[in-house]
Symmetry: C2
Subunit: 473 residues, 2 copies
Amino acid sequence: MSRVATGSRPIDLRLAESALAGARTATEPASFTDWFAEQARRAWMRVERVPLDALADWSADARSGVIGHRSGRFFTVEGLDVRVADAPVDRWSQPIINQPEVGILGILAKEFDGVLHFLMQAKAEPGNRNGLQLSPTVQATRSNYTRVHGGNPVPYLRYFQRPEAYQVIANVRQSEQGSWFWRKRNRNMVIEVTEEIELLDGFCWLTLASLHRLLAVDDLINMDSRTVLSCLPFAGDHVPCSGGGGFDAALARSCNPGADSVHSTAELLGWVTDMRTRIDLRADRVPLTGLPDWHYAEGAIAHDSGLFFEVIGVEVQAFGREVADWCQPMFAVRETGLVASVVRRIGGVLHVLVQARAEPGFVDVIELAPAVQCTPANHDYLPAAASPRFLGAVLGAPADRVRFDTTLSEEGGRFYHARTRYLVVEDDGDTDIEGDRYRWMTLHQGAELLRHSYYLNIQARSLLACLYSVTGR
Amino acid sequence: MSRVATGSRPIDLRLAESALAGARTATEPASFTDWFAEQARRAWMRVERVPLDALADWSADARSGVIGHRSGRFFTVEGLDVRVADAPVDRWSQPIINQPEVGILGILAKEFDGVLHFLMQAKAEPGNRNGLQLSPTVQATRSNYTRVHGGNPVPYLRYFQRPEAYQVIANVRQSEQGSWFWRKRNRNMVIEVTEEIELLDGFCWLTLASLHRLLAVDDLINMDSRTVLSCLPFAGDHVPCSGGGGFDAALARSCNPGADSVHSTAELLGWVTDMRTRIDLRADRVPLTGLPDWHYAEGAIAHDSGLFFEVIGVEVQAFGREVADWCQPMFAVRETGLVASVVRRIGGVLHVLVQARAEPGFVDVIELAPAVQCTPANHDYLPAAASPRFLGAVLGAPADRVRFDTTLSEEGGRFYHARTRYLVVEDDGDTDIEGDRYRWMTLHQGAELLRHSYYLNIQARSLLACLYSVTGR
């Protein structure tokens, strides 16, 4: 379906070649570790927790308590009243981040010696527990790139503002955390250029092979990079397959639209229609003041149980970014989340189990999530019926069935120290585990859905990027 | 892509055969005209305008003025404050219908003597200016089919409540009028059965050929039928094509995914992403009381200019429906709307010009609309810059370029006497008329987009159904 190609070489083949590029190429840093350590020495960020009511330029509306920036831009923190019919937890309240503007998450791509490379940035974010992480070439909210804060221009932005002038490899708006964001959408873009590109300080070119290796490092490839990487059109008729019964071959076969799938794409779409019709979740934005089960104490907004997350204030001083210092609210998440894909070889083709999951901030009721998506610690508080169905299975899987296991960070611009353990667990059973809410999907079906908005949630996209990274390890 | 088939006969081929079925089949009424006239004699509906504040079971909220049913179900009439950046009309207020529940619009299909037939219903709706129109097998809101009003069960509903037990030909939620509805979605379904079906009074089986002939009759095929028909997977590798340079051949070729298109589907999707990012429309639900530019007089809510629409009350007495009498608010639309597709043969393949159009009630900023969509009378009031770009061209087209011209009704359950002239005009030029907001699209690309929600608006879908009907005329 995709016609993106340079000359006659199709994009799925070129992506596969970049993913299989064996050693460091001449364009990559001689040692990524040394390069990254050098960046960490140059970039500097001091983040200090401050009370919400002491944040410069931010204030709470006297009546509603909604927290906003004095420019009216960036984002607000509001209250949300959520009702879900026939659910173990059928009503709750929570703060939520409302950021209506669509930002750009863009990666620039270019062939060097016939191999696609991707321009990545070593970037500090206030929520990163470890300072620097590897981000897309451009990671900018509209407020950010229209320079509401009066900082320096965003490097490389122009390629993403006029994509039609270049080769567009990916260009689709996708949701972000539906439990923390109200209908947040970012534009995920990969633009290929052939012209000379100046390599600015803090940036480096990497092949997919290198990016995939680095995905196995804790807290290195940031969330924005992962979602953009997941939108690459990996699937196609030209994905090379080694043959045989191995995991790699099943994964490669799964990328081929000609491979058999348990469900046709039409069936999967019909199931999504069914779930979006049947699941009755209503979310209403309400005042933050007097939000049931939440309280303001010590300069932060917290849940009465002490679980879930806190809305905190931070004061940031940065060097090597567009702005030298600023204040902002963040969601602080103490407990590590867990998301796990369950995969299975069916007829020699790798299938991923996806879950129809309603989150209050979704634009359209449900999106497809990994088989398991939760914060285990919160289940001490929630009713037993709310416990994820496959939690025990993925945590108890034998080591040789665990295909991926890395703890990665969530968006460091809004979430303070939010980490998630990403697992890919292979299931070797053959029993029917789908029920109403789960379906087996191939990777080429995932790639087809990812051409459109709101099918795969941010956790599922992150895990897809991780799953692709298993190739050729 | 679609795998819907009975045995080895693909659905696109079977639809084409049904569309080309020459004469009346044995299953169809011997004379549709006589059958329909007989239905009109049996069905009876008296509709009387009454003041909004005299509607039984409906009332306006004391503070907000929002009009709702005492059950809390069905729909509400609310106010909307709309802002569009950089538009000729950059801010306005209007009443809007909020109907959050997803209803079912479903057509039952069955082969008789090897030809697909569709079960249609002669149905009276209070807004129909001519009483009966031809509706889908099932046309039911959730309030309706869960029998909030305590009426009789909806006939044939069970097939659509358990679609997985049958052959699903179409199953997708689509938007309705984004200028009059707040995020309304209905589930468009076509379900094929092989079992015996009792033919109830008021229903008849028709081939696509008959439905297509009837689409040329004013105010006969209702809006709900048109949107469901548009979601049929007409496109595919098996659409028969007569060859040659004629309009029919170009139309058939346009249904074939192998045919050349001006833009790849990836390019069209990228353009949609771009439009949904750049167009900045914000719509906020506000009280109906004190809505700027609107006033309450003589029991109705009207715009100060007398244009656009009025919110009125009606009292309905019906015979041959689930309920014998009820009251409800409606939008009364005095002036006839105009929607026009501009089509062009490009490389022997028919292309349709679609417009990226923002409407305040859309779920996701824009949907693709016909080249022209307006109510000409309203442009006496609106600024000249708001006048549709191709309005003069379609109204002034020579008769031999007008491929379709019928005035059809909008949804008679919510809109009172709302009619629209549907035009398909062939453009024989070869100049570039796309600009930022318009793109050429083939029918197979349209069919691909129609597998997903929110790409083609209700007017574009109606016109697609009309365009398919031109085949073989």
